[in-house]
């Protein structure tokens, strides 16, 4: 499934746009602390001040620099997406491969478990745990990942079953290759595109949920996040804060979600139209 993939990706406009957006976001994240002249938790400025050379995007109601808040908020949202995306993908890949390789009871048990997990509305579990225990964002991300792996696991399992019976694996087996050798050297590299698709769709879901949950006020209020900024800014909608306070976090959030959406869409299109993951 890799043949010509690189060439197809390089000419796919969605992929190019997605990569460009990811690059911009990466620069914002890495250079964030340098670009933000002020500390995002510094509350010593004139509240609701208009944009000026000191505060490029003005000051919020709590006397904090909005640009600094924004730059730190992007970092937090992306970190949440990465933690959930990577963990969910790793769990999904391992379980998918285990199911495909061993089959039988293990496969049956894990697949029924994933059916149950797919049926449970994960956002509700997140709301419940966040409201009751106020865990750190990282542990919330891990909880989300623990519920989000079944989609990837099923896609990996289905494809691994196909590969398992293909000629080159049979040949490897004939030559006496062990199970672990075949899995790590033959199957894992071949399934590589699926990892990317799994990661992109999980990261998209995670960032979307992070923004929604922080908008609803379920995260620690001292943790800067885009959703929380939108929530606070909406309370002052009658003031002239639309362009400097409300729009920047919305724009950043949209760009973030667009970047992963475009990447996931183009990867799916290029690698296999039948391997579509769920949005």
């Amino acid at each position: 499934m890799h043949l010509n993939a690189r060439k197809k990706l390089a000419t796919d406009p969605w992929f190019i746009t997605g990569v460009a957006l990811v690059l911009i976001i990466t620069i914002l994240i890495i250079a964030g602390p340098r670009l933000a002249v002020h500390d995002p938790h510094d509350m010593s400025f004139q509240p609701l001040d208009h944009p000026s050379s000191q505060h490029r995007l003005g000051v919020n109601d709590g006397g904090m620099d909005i640009l600094a808040e924004l730059l730190f908020g992007i970092r937090n949202t992306v970190a949440f997406g990465l933690v959930t995306g990577i963990t969910g993908m790793v769990i999904g890949v391992i379980i998918g491969l285990v199911c495909a390789w061993f089959g039988g009871l293990t496969d049956n048990f894990l697949m029924r478990l994933s059916d149950i997990l797919m049926a449970v509305p994960s956002i509700m579990i997140l709301i419940l745990t966040a409201a009751f225990f106020r865990p750190s964002p990282a542990s919330l991300g891990l909880i989300l990942a623990a519920m989000a792996w079944p989609g990837t696991a099923k896609a990996i399992r289905a494809q691994a079953m196909v590969i398992k019976n293909s000629l080159h694996i049979q040949a490897a087996r004939q030559m006496g290759a062990s199970g672990s050798y075949i899995i790590t050297r033959h199957m894992m590299p071949e399934l590589f595109p699926l990892y990317l698709i799994g990661f992109a769709s999980k990261a998209r879901m995670a960032m979307f949920m992070e923004a929604s949950l922080s908008f609803l006020g379920l995260f620690d209020p001292s943790r800067k996040s885009l959703g929380m900024m939108i929530n606070y800014a909406l309370k002052y909608y009658y003031l002239d804060i639309w362009w400097n306070w409300l729009m920047p976090p919305i724009l950043c959030l949209t760009l973030l979600i667009m970047a992963v959406t475009f990447l996931a869409v183009s990867l799916e299109k290029v690698f296999d139209p039948r391997l579509k993951e769920v949005w």
Binding site: I116, A119, P121, F132
Partner: protein
């Protein structure tokens, strides 16, 4: 896709429901602190030792799981700390609004998304199809939060065409006709937001599955028989393209519920989402718990019903059983 084994999902939904019930039953016991300290330590009421003991005994009594289930299914959900009324009443008051908003948005986006997707697949490669797929992919990258706030800014504040908050005009007596008009006036913005959020997914999914169906041989047969294109499209092809939409619905519902929560909060629409938002803001744990449990069970129930719809739609499933 393994169509013949869809029956496996039915026990999964029931088990998932039990998991939710068990989680919601046991989570509060792991909470640190207790209700009496939380409620009275900062208040002006000073409790005597006896009163405190009694209150503590009252609030730490835990029904066993059977009793809990019985209470839950008889709508005996306790009292909200913040609103000081029975929780079941609060939920019953908010539920119709959410159903109205989410149901309408879902049905509209499903129907229009499906038709648009089928038509797009039929015109594959044409300019209009490419433009449609492109713009829908872009729209899929815009979160509800963004669409909602932008529509609010534009249509409620700048143009003042639509009200910015609420589900109906308060304290007025309208005739039924005027009331429906008022209702739809308030519904318009949240509905459009949700529609724009759900539509791209439905459109792209319908187009994708239709493209795959169109490649199959039985459509050649239909064409060779000289059937009119519209009949081939809808009676032969679209029927099979509908199946993935139903299967994916259950998986997309988590996104949909999140979307409703956010959109209702933005427009202060008096549904479950706004109720949950207020409950979170006031740390009203029993209410949060009841809303979460209730809506997850509804989601599971809808999924379960869809399994039966799926059986009806796909003759292969019907014959396999």
């Amino acid at each position: 896709m393994n169509n013949s084994s869809r029956k496996q999902y039915i026990p999964a939904y029931i088990l998932a429901g039990l998991v939710m019930l068990a989680a919601s039953y046991s989570l509060p016991r792991w909470l640190p602190g207790d209700f009496v300290t939380a409620m009275y330590s900062n208040s002006h009421v000073t409790l005597t030792e006896n009163q405190e003991l009694e209150l503590r005994a009252y609030y730490t009594q835990r029904p066993n799981f059977g009793r809990y289930l019985l209470d839950f299914f008889t709508f005996n959900w306790g009292y909200s700390y913040a609103f000081l009324t029975p929780i079941s009443g609060l939920i019953a008051g908010a539920l119709p609004w959410t159903l109205l908003l989410m149901g309408t948005a879902h049905v509209l986006s499903m129907v229009f998304g499906f038709i648009a997707g089928v038509e797009a697949a039929w015109r594959r490669g044409a300019m209009i199809e490419k433009a449609g797929v492109g713009s829908m992919t872009i729209l899929q990258g815009v979160p509800e939060l963004g669409i909602g706030v932008i529509l609010l800014l534009f249509f409620a504040f700048h143009l003042e065409w639509f009200p910015a908050a609420g589900g109906e005009t308060a304290y007025v007596n309208y005739t039924t006709g005027r009331w429906v008009l008022d209702l739809s006036h308030h519904l318009a913005l949240p509905l459009v937001t949700l529609f724009l959020a759900y539509f791209p997914g439905n459109f792209l999914l319908a187009r994708g599955s239709m493209v795959m169906v169109l490649g199959q041989q039985y459509l050649e047969t239909a064409r060779a028989k000289g059937l009119p294109p519209i009949r081939i499209r809808y009676a032969h092809a679209a029927r099979n393209a509908l199946l993935p939409m139903v299967t994916r619905f259950g998986l997309r519902i988590a996104f949909m519920v999140t979307g409703v929560l956010v959109v209702e909060t933005i427009y202060a629409y008096p549904g479950l989402g706004t109720l949950l938002f207020n409950a979170i803001a006031m740390r009203d744990l029993p209410l949060i718990q009841a809303i979460v449990l209730f809506s997850s069970l509804v989601v599971l129930f809808v999924n379960l019903c869809l399994e039966f719809v799926y059986g009806l739609l796909d003759p292969r499933v019907k014959h396999a059983s």
